[in-house]
Structure formats: structure tokens, C-alpha cells
């Protein structure tokens, strides 16, 4: 079970078309914990069809103990979370929020940091920039966005990076060339990217081709659980059966049924929700980033936050 804080949306700010910033304060007015750059929180969004839990990177200053800031882009194929935040969330709305967790931390031994943001991926990059500026470390920022008006938080970034922010505006045909970005860098340089899947893959592939070790290349991408066919989950220990709707993840269905499986990132990356499979009469759809191919082939493990089966019934050890 994950610790949750009773919070309230204290402010809603339109940053750009389809991009909103939200401020969260504790319901009881108390102090919030500090957090490390790159941390995210999970919001439990009270959708009419049931609670939807989505992770969002913390953008603001951890020294401000009275509020947390996040920025949310309305996803085109939204399963409801970002749409709800854009259409229904109002100042004063109570929301339960998890404690910060960090799956995208800075290296404390790096001699130089290259921060790269793609679109709304700028949110953890801002908090990295803020932390590096505070620590007096060397860093540079590269920010790719669709059009000038979508360069949200740019002023804040510029202020933190002492002006060293390079912008790549797609509508002007400006694109990041990863070969150029990563070439000629001294030993001890670390590179960090948060952005869409394609950009992250390109980043890792280029870095690898150029001989960068995985230890120095970091990325975070928020996978939304992909939809699929409806199926049934059987809980081996109690014998209970839980129905998973097409647009609902297995994790969400289990939570809606009153169980509390462990989770952390809810995006298939961290491994916390790894679940043992007892039996399955259908084809697995592994959508995660965590299991090895051998583990997937074994048919004995699944990551319920993002993975599914193609109809039928799966029995898990819960």
C-alpha cells in the first residue's frame, strides 16, 4: 500500500493550449516533504468511472514546502486522466497524492550534465536544472517543442540555466541531432532525456552507437497503459475473479476491486508491481520496459500496470 497525502488543487494555470500547470497544497495546510530533482508523484484522479492513478513529474522548488507544482498535457488518446484534469479539475478540488518517488535521479559524480526535454518531458528537466543550479554544477539544457507557444516553462528554465538553453522548434524545422549533441564530450558527462517514446529510443540508440555506456545515459518516459480487449483476472489465493475493462489496466481493475497491489511508477519501468502468473489461457501482451525476454517467454510473470492478455482469463498469485 502506498502512503497517500490528502491534498487540494490550489491553483490552475493555462500554460499553453492543452497544457496546464497545477498547484497542490496539503488539505491540512501542513508542510510537504522535500524531494530530489526528477521525482514524480501519483495523483488519484476521481473519474466518474473509478479512480485513475497517473504519475506526474514535480516541477517546482522543493524548498517551497507549501505547494507542489506539476504540468499536464492533455493527451490526444487520453484514457480520461489528463482529460479530466483539463476539463473538470477546479481550484479547491481535493485529490489524494502519493509521496514523491524518483526513477530519474541525477548522478552526483558527473562532471557535466546534458539535459534534454521533448514536449511535456520538460517537467522533470526543470527540476533537474533547478537542483543542478543549486549545487553549482555544470549543465546545459536542450528543449524541443512543437511550436513557440508550446515552449512552456522556458523562462523558468532560462533563469535556472543562466541562459544556456537551446530551443528546437519543430514548426521551424528545428530538430535535435543527437549525434551532434553527444559528440566530443569529455569523460564523466551524463545525458538525460524525458520525452516521447520515439525520441527516447533515438537518444539511446545514438548514445550506444557513439560508445556511451548505459551508466551515463538516463531517460524517463511515461507510458500510458495501452488499451485492449476486456479479460478476467483470477486471484489464486482467494479464488476471486476481477473483470478488466478494455480501457482499464489490470492494476486499476485490481485496485477498483479493493485489492492493493504494490506499485511505484505505474508506467511499466520500475518493476515494483511484478506479479507471478499461475495460469493463463490467452496470449500475453507485455507492454512494459522491465521484464527480460526470458521472463516474458516464461509466461510466469506480468507487470499489471501496463500489460494485458488478449481476452480470456489469467490467474495471478495475489
Amino acid at each position: 500500500m502506498n502512503a497517500e497525502i490528502g491534498m487540494v488543487l490550489s491553483r490552475v494555470i493555462e500554460l499553453a493550449p492543452g497544457i496546464r500547470e497545477f498547484w497542490l497544497a496539503r488539505e491540512d495546510g501542513g508542510d510537504l516533504p522535500a524531494y530530489s530533482g526528477g521525482s514524480h508523484i501519483v495523483l488519484s484522479l476521481p473519474l466518474p468511472g473509478g479512480v485513475r492513478r497517473n504519475p506526474y513529474s514535480l516541477v517546482g522548488d522543493p524548498g517551497d514546502r507549501k505547494k507542489w507544482r506539476i504540468a499536464v498535457r492533455r493527451q490526444e488518446q487520453s484514457r480520461g486522466g489528463s482529460a479530466w484534469l483539463h476539463e473538470h479539475a477546479r481550484e479547491g478540488q481535493p485529490i489524494r497524492v502519493s509521496m514523491p518517488a524518483n526513477l530519474f535521479p541525477m548522478s552526483r559524480l558527473a562532471r557535466h550534465h546534458i539535459l534534454v526535454a521533448g514536449g511535456i518531458g520538460v517537467t522533470p528537466i526543470v527540476s533537474h536544472a533547478r537542483e543542478l543550479a543549486r549545487l553549482g554544477q555544470h549543465f546545459e539544457v536542450h528543449y524541443a517543442h512543437r511550436a513557440p507557444e508550446f515552449g512552456v516553462l522556458l523562462d523558468e528554465l532560462r533563469q535556472l540555466a543562466g541562459g544556456d538553453v537551446h530551443c528546437y522548434v519543430a514548426s521551424r524545422n528545428q530538430v535535435i541531432d543527437f549525434r551532434e549533441l553527444l559528440g566530443g564530450r569529455p569523460l564523466g558527462t551524463h545525458a538525460y532525456l524525458c520525452g516521447p517514446q520515439g525520441m527516447v529510443e533515438d537518444f539511446h540508440k545514438t548514445a550506444r552507437d557513439m560508445g556511451w555506456p548505459d551508466t551515463h545515459v538516463h531517460s524517463e518516459r511515461f507510458l500510458a497503459p495501452p488499451p485492449g480487449e476486456a479479460f478476467t483476472v483470477k486471484l489464486a489465493r482467494s479464488g476471486r475473479e476481477v473483470a478488466v475493462a478494455g480501457d482499464q489496466s489490470m492494476l486499476e481493475a485490481l485496485e477498483a476491486a479493493g485489492t492493493e497491489p504494490p506499485f511505484l511508477c505505474r508506467g511499466g519501468a520500475c518493476g515494483q508491481c511484478e506479479t507471478q502468473v499461475v495460469a493463463c489461457d490467452s496470449k500475453f501482451q507485455h507492454n512494459d520496459l522491465f521484464l527480460s525476454q526470458a521472463e516474458r517467454d516464461s509466461g510466469r510473470k506480468i507487470m499489471p500496470c501496463v500489460s494485458r492478455i488478449a481476452g480470456g482469463c489469467i490467474t495471478i498469485d495475489l
Partner: protein, 196 residues
């Protein structure tokens, strides 16, 4: 503490040295000559530019005559070699892989320099060759006693007779030594050649 220590998980295990195909540039540092190893490596050099730095004259000649490296440097002794290594790393770029060949004292000192430039263990491969003599860190006075070939050694700092453990610190590049007769002063096991 016990003198009959079983093999300890902190002790480094050296795998057969191979070029790392993921690197685009390679730097080979040799502190002890190892003809079969060097011949094997140089017969099939890696993809990408290879630089070789040797503190051993014979190894240096071998490297030079093989022509496998784009640049070969020979330094006069370990201290000079480590200095030169530092300068090379200072000017090196991401994509480099570092290979350290020699006795443990030399290769771990070299690894320490590489860590200082932000290199991780993913970019460094170590191989122990030559003498198995150990650098020993005295836990009582913190002095380093180098070139230890026996199971017991008199500390160069405080003179206590130290038992040479298998517990190894990568940061210090040394094995731990503690006073062998602390429980029963004067009662010491026989000295044996352990690390020739």
C-alpha cells in the same frame, strides 16, 4: 576477527580480458608485461582508435612493434605512467573504453584516476597479471604497505604484525591488514608466502 577467513565477496575477480565492442575509442594501460595476453589482444585489435600506454619497457616494445595502436607511449615507471594516464583521460571523450593490465597495486591506482574523471566500471576493464603481491592498508594507523607477498607483514607505519585479509577496498586499491596477535600478544601463526 578471524584469521581463517573464507573467500570474501569484496575481493575482485578478473575475467579474461577482451576488447569492449561497445567502445569507439580504446586506451590500453600496461603496467606489467604479459606476452600471451598482449599478443592475443593485438592480433585482433578493436574497432576504433587504439592508444597504448606502457610503464614496462618490454611491453612497450611489444606494443610498438605490433603496430596495432595508433599511438603508443612508454612511460618511465609507474608514477610517470599514472601521471600520463591522467593527462590522456583529461583530454578524452565519451565513448572511450579503458583497459588496465598489471599487478593489483598498479591497476587499481589507475582505476582511481579514471574514477576521478567520472568513468564508471562499465567503461573500465581490469586484468591482474605479473606479481600477486598486495598493497595492504593498516586499519590501526592507516598506513599503506606495498608489495606484500606474505600472509603476515610488519606495518610500515606502526610496526604491528598485520594479517593480510582478502577484504578489498577499490577506493583505496588495497587489502585490509589488522594486528594478528591482538587477542593473544606475541602468539602469531607462521609467516607463509601467499602472494608471489
Amino acid at each position: 576477527m578471524s584469521a581463517a577467513a573464507p573467500s570474501i565477496k569484496s575481493q575482485p575477480v578478473y575475467h579474461a580480458l577482451e576488447w569492449d565492442a561497445a567502445g569507439v575509442r580504446h586506451l590500453l594501460f600496461v603496467a606489467s608485461d604479459d606476452p600471451p595476453l598482449l599478443d592475443r589482444l593485438l592480433a585482433a585489435p578493436p574497432r576504433g582508435e587504439l592508444t597504448a600506454l606502457s610503464t614496462d619497457a618490454a611491453a612497450g616494445e611489444r606494443l610498438q612493434s605490433s603496430g596495432a595502436a595508433a599511438h603508443t607511449l612508454v612511460a618511465d615507471g609507474l608514477a610517470r605512467g599514472l601521471e600520463t594516464l591522467g593527462l590522456l583521460l583529461r583530454d578524452s571523450e565519451m565513448g572511450l573504453r579503458l583497459y588496465l593490465v598489471g599487478c593489483e597495486d598498479a591497476i587499481w591506482q589507475a582505476a582511481g584516476i579514471a574514477s576521478g574523471y567520472g568513468m564508471s566500471s562499465a567503461e573500465i576493464r581490469l586484468f591482474q597479471t605479473g606479481t600477486k603481491a598486495r598493497p595492504v592498508f593498516c586499519v590501526h594507523c592507516r598506513a599503506m604497505t606495498r608489495g606484500v607477498r606474505t600472509n603476515l607483514v610488519d606495518c610500515s607505519g606502526c610496526g604491528r604484525t598485520l594479517f593480510v585479509r582478502d577484504h578489498f577496498s577499490r577506493r583505496l586499491g588495497a587489502y585490509m591488514g589488522f594486528q594478528i596477535d591482538a587477542e593473544e600478544p606475541g602468539v602469531k601463526p607462521p609467516v607463509e608466502l601467499a602472494y608471489p
